[in-house]
């Protein structure tokens, strides 16, 4: 039997970020900066047809080429970044709020209510989120707003289930028993002591979920129930260009790469936060 591995690590300077962590965080910051600043500096022409310059390959004038309407692909991606990221943030925030509410009401309320809410959560978990979101969005009429609402409605069960489990654990903490022994009511116990001490996991999940949501939102738009042309939203852009895959690859590959990179960047960010808040995972 080998002795347990003891890793002795030299303290790292500053925040102690590895090169990999720094590049992921840098990428996320860059994406956010593009989403905030991009639409302010983009030329007006991103929504204007210029048939004479349609389907130009990437070059000096148009870095990522032009699409079938002669619009600059690069600047459309920059403008679309805000739509895409803002929508994803909105979706994740909305369903996190629903999840927190369901978990807290379940934890604080009577047993039957907890059971009822958790069974509804189970049903929600059993349904394929994407398909249900598709149905909801189609029923409300295809638009970006419908897609956001549909995803918020279908996204909460995982958050609720996860948080309810963690809250159950936190409820075992001695300080909860202590507060109870001093007359703190069950509702206040849950909202003021148990919930705040359970939330850190959601912060990790939140970052990772933005990545997934960017992908799902683009998919919904691609299918046609999300953002509609001429929106520069990435999924809609891919949908609009899908007829040119064989003749003008850049019209599809560029927005596709944007979706992939953003989704992966936020996913990795979630993982980095998770590793850094759990010292036992650190150092690998």
């Amino acid at each position: 039997m080998s002795a347990p591995a003891v890793s002795v690590r030299a303290p790292r300077a500053g925040l102690g970020l590895s090169a990999f962590e720094a590049s992921v965080i840098g990428l996320v910051v860059l994406l956010l900066a593009v989403a905030v600043v991009g639409p302010l500096v983009a030329p007006e022409s991103v929504y204007r047809s210029d048939i004479a310059n349609a389907l130009l390959p990437p070059g000096a004038g148009h870095w990522f080429g032009t699409d079938d309407q002669g619009r600059d692909v690069f600047w459309r991606l920059v403008v679309g970044a805000r739509t895409t990221l803002l929508s994803a943030f909105l979706v994740v925030t909305l369903y996190s709020l629903i999840g927190v509410a369901v978990a807290t009401i379940g934890a604080a309320g009577p047993r039957w209510l907890d059971e009822t809410l958790m069974r509804i959560t189970d049903i929600g978990l059993a349904l394929p989120g994407m398909v249900v979101a598709l149905g909801f969005a189609a029923a409300m009429g295809p638009s970006l707003r419908s897609a956001i609402i549909a995803m918020a409605i279908t996204g909460w069960p995982i958050t609720a289930r996860l948080l309810r489990g963690i809250m159950r654990q936190t409820m075992e903490a001695p300080f909860v028993a202590g507060a109870r022994a001093l007359g703190v009511s069950r509702w206040r116990l849950m909202t003021c002591h148990v919930l705040p001490n359970s939330l850190d996991v959601l912060i990790v999940k939140w970052a990772g979920d933005v990545g997934t949501t960017v992908l799902v939102l683009a998919s919904l738009s691609f299918i046609g129930v999300g953002a509609q042309p001429p929106s520069a939203e990435w999924g809609a852009t891919i949908a609009g260009a899908r007829g040119y895959v064989s003749t003008a690859w850049w019209t599809v590959v560029m927005p596709g790469a944007a979706v992939a990179i953003t989704s992966i960047a936020f996913g990795l960010l979630g993982e980095i936060i998770q590793v850094r808040r759990d010292p036992s995972l650190r150092g690998n």
């Binding site: 001695p174 202590g178 507060a179 109870r180 001093l182 007359g183 206040r188 003021c192 705040p196 001490n197």
Partner: protein, 338 residues
């Protein structure tokens, strides 16, 4: 079920005290599994605590002392508590859960063993101490002022500057003072202290005990002190109740119990305390181990470990009978005639 157990009149506090809290035939059953059978952890306990009286409840781990204390405040939701628990004339077992939250922290407060884990790590100590008041409708500024006053009373260093500090910024001893402040700020009349000093080192333990001593004297606060440390009992309490396997086996003033323990179990406990003035090769230990609550021996639960056991001990649960300076549940005294 307890027809064989007799109690001479209703339980009374020590001399010179009016009754503040009283338990009569207090019995606690804990479910083993949901819906399945249950185990009797506390088996018909009678006692009383007087206004401002300091009572120690001692016994080995698993004797039911913590469960008894928790039952007074109805803290275990799964437990079935029967008998009677009176506080200042009110029957606590008859109150609604809502009324009970007013009793907790208001009339009766409780502090626990490990000060480290009994503070919410995400709440400032000012907010935590004030919370007991805030939930009773005291205004924010007022609650904060009173929290500070209690922290000062408990001599928390630089309390005014550190109201907005978090628990991890305090040492173990200071944290225990904060926990004590949380319990005292609601001005309870009875404080239940469940091994409040066990997790602290001896020097800090001493400070906390001194503090508790001071506060209890100044406020006329009754304290039910749960411990297995007889040294602490001798220094702090006026009266001591000894619990064994869910029953009180001896109850009396600290002086008389330590000078003349009546129950063989109490005698064993006192003999087992290491003494600095005697040179011994081996420390004394009571032979055997306490029985699990689901397999209590017949008669006196202590008889398998008792060196004085005789026929009745195997057959009948001994009645709690008055003896000089207190009461005891032992056939030795019943046969001698109390």
């Amino acid at each position: 079920m307890h027809m064989d157990r007799t109690f001479q009149g209703s339980p009374t506090p020590g001399p010179n005290a009016t009754t503040l809290a009283r338990a009569v035939g207090l019995t606690v059953d804990m479910p083993v599994q949901l819906g399945a059978s249950s185990v009797r952890i506390v088996d018909g306990v009678d006692f009383a605590i007087g206004v401002g009286e300091r009572v120690a409840l001692v016994g080995e781990s698993g004797s039911g002392k913590s469960v008894t204390a928790r039952a007074l405040m109805r803290l275990d939701r799964a437990a079935r508590v029967s008998g009677r628990v009176e506080f200042a004339g009110r029957d606590l077992l008859a109150l609604s859960e809502r009324e009970m939250t007013q009793v907790r922290g208001g009339d009766i407060a409780m502090v626990f063993q490990d000060p480290m884990s009994f503070l919410d790590p995400l709440m400032t100590i000012g907010d935590q101490v004030a919370e007991t008041l805030r939930i009773r409708g005291v205004g924010k500024a007022d609650a904060r002022r009173r929290a500070l006053a209690v922290l000062d009373e408990l001599r928390v260093d630089r309390a005014a500057e550190r109201l907005d500090a978090y628990p991890h910024e305090f040492s173990g001893g200071m944290r225990q003072r904060v926990v004590l402040a949380m319990a005292l700020v609601g001005e309870p009349r009875l404080l239940i202290a469940d091994e409040p000093t066990t997790a602290l080192d001896v020097r800090v333990q001493d400070q906390v005990l001194d503090l508790l001593d001071d506060v209890s004297a100044r406020r006329g606060l009754a304290v039910l002190f749960i411990t297995h440390d007889l040294g602490v009992v001798a220094g702090f309490a006026e009266r001591v109740m000894v619990m064994y396997s869910g029953r009180i086996v001896e109850d009396g003033s600290v002086d008389s119990v330590f000078a003349r323990p009546r129950h063989p179990y109490t005698r064993g406990l006192i003999k087992a305390v290491p003494r600095i003035d005697q040179d011994l090769d081996r420390l004394y230990a009571i032979p055997g181990a306490p029985p699990p609550p689901f397999a209590r021996p017949t008669g006196c639960a202590f008889h398998p470990r008792c060196d004085a056991a005789f026929a009745p001990c195997l057959r009948d649960v001994p009645a709690v009978l008055p003896v000089e300076g207190g009461r005891a549940a032992c056939h030795l005294h019943a046969s001698q005639g109390a």
